[in-house]
């Protein structure tokens, strides 16, 4: 009975979060007025999706990835090419982008996953840059620096989501799906297995886990979510070029999860929203806004090196509010 009651209130809390994302925030944005707040919100949601996906690999599984923007780019180009050349609609390009990014990610992960710490980080840096160079120079396929223009807007089963408001709902739906997937993966025994790899993968192997396989799985899932974010980006921006998928973007995504708190899901969301909305909110101070963003990043790392919402407090929050992560009433073991 107690279990049932708590399950109901957990569902209510999830519904509350969904109402916030799909009801309250768009209403507020509409109240501020114009398409511009919605555009910023779409960008923020795309980066929330990216930050959450990187958080699975870097925060939970402890693999520092410096090439995440490359997989974002693979997804964006897969969606853009499929929709402009083959005329595929968004419900098909979205999974295609996720699968394409995941396939590239797993192919990359197979040889490099045996590397640890900084060596793995450097390998992902190299691969991220290789993807960028390929997008830039493979002109016959990707149109190189000219980019891909006139990517059709989002349309789902006859429902036209071409405006900024429609784009917001599509981006919010993908972000919510990404957050939910990563939440379920990390706040479970599977997530604990990934955390054990982060702390000591030799010890985890001695306990019977298969570190290489777990790491490849986590990396593949993370790349798939980043690829889905790429599809949303391609269809909402309607123009993509290789410049959006550079090392700087990878570092920006990493900065989001470090500012928010490595390994913490709400931290990733907060970090992404802050680092996207802050430069826009500071538009008034002109030239100084990027300086202000850098100073903000520096100060938050200096005073909160474990992040604004660290992993330990985030897990406690989830446990209390959302009933996830090792509830007493669930008999569960490692599956």
């Amino acid at each position: 009975m107690v279990a049932n009651a708590s399950r109901v209130s957990v569902a209510a809390r999830w519904l509350g979060l969904a109402a916030l994302l799909f009801g309250l925030i768009p209403a507020l944005l509409a109240a501020i007025g114009g398409g511009y707040p919605f555009q910023v919100a779409i960008t923020a949601l795309i980066f929330v999706t990216l930050a959450v996906s990187l958080n699975l690999v870097t925060g939970t599984a402890g693999l520092l990835s410096l090439g995440h923007a490359g997989f974002f780019g693979v997804g964006a180009y897969a969606a853009a090419l499929a929709s402009t050349k083959l005329g595929w609609p968004f419900p098909l390009t979205l999974p295609l982008a996720a699968v394409a990014a995941a396939v590239v990610g797993v192919l990359v992960a197979l040889p490099t996953m045996r590397l640890i710490s900084i060596y793995f980080a450097v390998a992902t840096l190299g691969i991220g840059e290789m993807i960028h160079v390929a997008l830039l120079n493979w002109v016959s396929f990707t149109r190189g620096p000219m980019g891909i223009r006139a990517i059709p807007p989002i349309e789902v089963l006859g429902l036209d989501l071409s405006g900024v408001v429609g784009g917001y709902y599509a981006a919010a739906a993908v972000a919510a799906a990404g957050i939910f997937a990563v939440h379920r993966l990390t706040h479970s025994y599977y997530g604990n297995a990934l955390r054990s790899l982060r702390e000591d993968d030799q010890c985890a192997a001695a306990m019977g886990l298969n570190p290489v396989r777990l790491k490849i799985e986590a990396f593949g899932v993370s790349c798939a979510i980043a690829g889905a974010a790429g599809a949303v980006y391609a269809h909402t921006a309607s123009f993509i070029s290789p410049d959006s998928f550079r090392f700087e973007e990878s570092i920006l995504i990493l900065a989001m999860i470090v500012v928010g708190g490595l390994g913490s899901l709400p931290g990733a969301v907060v970090g992404a929203v802050l680092l996207i909305v802050l430069p826009e909110a500071l538009r008034g101070i002109g030239d100084f806004r990027m300086i202000a963003v850098g100073v903000f990043m520096f100060l938050s790392i200096l005073f909160q090196p474990k992040g604004l919402l660290g992993e330990a407090s985030a897990i406690a929050l989830f446990r209390r509010q959302l009933g996830a992560a090792w509830r007493g009433d669930i008999q569960a073991g490692w599956k």
């Binding site: 060596y119 691969i127 160079v133 390929a134 900065a255 470090v258 992993e311």
Partner: protein, 307 residues
């Protein structure tokens, strides 16, 4: 193939070697700092840019001989390096309990504090000098052509060769023949051990930052005058290439970093014979990934337990 080893090819090798020497100077700074702190210094590319701007300001202001410009850039670079250490690295070192030392969040925080400082530095330079290429007085450029047989060198090539060899030699002397060098080697070998035998680790770390940054700044001004372009974003590409060279060399081996940097410079320069210029960056990253997969300790790295 009759004209494979023609003059053009030799020319490309020479250009590649000067490019490689520049990467080497930047890579040494990376390697010294990584060796001693085990942390990647993301702001190293900005030190390179700061060196170039400092030299340019002196040229515009006083037009002194080239040697004075380089020495001035090195001094400014050293000062910037010390400031960087104070600002971005020392505050994070205050957490020295075991839980913090093992925490991944803390390690990534140090990495990103240097990144944050580099963003602020770069944007300040954009603010004061604009993001465009700076105008360099014609007389200061190192682009005077010197013909040697069928080859065309510039005095920039010669100056980069000379300066890099002198600096690399000086570094080697400093590391192996002086007390500062001894303490740097001791701290990078084992921080705790060095502290036990009475070495002031904080001072050694500051000295390492000063030396590494001075070399990076010298590379900045030399390349700026050789290529004729100095702008706030110039530090990014050499920074990444130097990072690649450091990893290929085995992370903490200075000769390894130098040899890998030369290899990288020459292969990039020769590759433009065979592939279009746009793809040439693929060489550096391809070499990096291949090295990591097949020689994960780097080409010249010392044995580590695991990589």
């Amino acid at each position: 193939m009759p004209d494979f080893f023609d003059a053009y090819f030799a020319q490309q090798i020479i250009n590649g070697l000067s490019l490689g020497l520049v990467y080497a100077l930047v890579a040494i700074g990376f390697t010294l700092i990584f060796g001693i702190l085990n942390v990647v210094n993301f702001a190293h590319g900005e030190i390179y840019t700061v060196g170039a701007f400092a030299g340019l300001l002196l040229i515009v202001g006083a037009a002194p001989p080239l040697l004075a410009v380089v020495l001035f850039a090195m001094a400014v670079g050293a000062a910037a390096g010390v400031g960087l250490e104070r600002l971005a690295f020392r505050p994070i070192r205050r957490f020295s309990d075991e839980a913090s030392l093992k925490s991944r969040a803390m390690r990534e925080a140090t990495l990103l504090s240097s990144l944050a400082v580099s963003i602020v530095t770069r944007e300040l330079m954009v603010h004061f000098f604009s993001g465009e290429m700076q105008v360099i007085p014609q007389a200061a450029l190192l682009q005077e052509v010197i013909a040697v047989g069928p080859l065309t060198l510039t005095n920039g090539n010669l100056f980069i060769f000379g300066a890099s060899v002198v600096m690399l030699g000086g570094l080697q002397f400093m590391l192996y023949r002086t007390r500062v060098g001894l303490s740097i080697r001791a701290v990078s070998n084992n921080v705790l051990g060095a502290r036990h035998v009475g070495i002031d680790t904080n001072r050694t770390i500051v000295a390492t930052f000063a030396i590494g940054s001075a070399l990076g700044a010298a590379a900045g001004i030399l390349v700026g005058l050789y290529n004729g372009n100095i702008f706030p974003y110039m530090g990014f590409a050499p920074g990444v290439k130097a990072f690649v060279a450091m990893v290929m060399g085995g992370l903490s081996s200075i000769p390894g970093a130098v040899i890998s940097a030369l290899l990288l410079g020459v292969s990039e320069s020769v590759a433009t014979d065979f592939i279009s210029a746009g793809w040439k960056d693929m060489i550096a990253y391809g070499l990096l990934v291949v090295t990591l997969i097949f020689f994960p300790q780097g080409l010249f790295g010392h044995g580590r337990e695991r990589v």
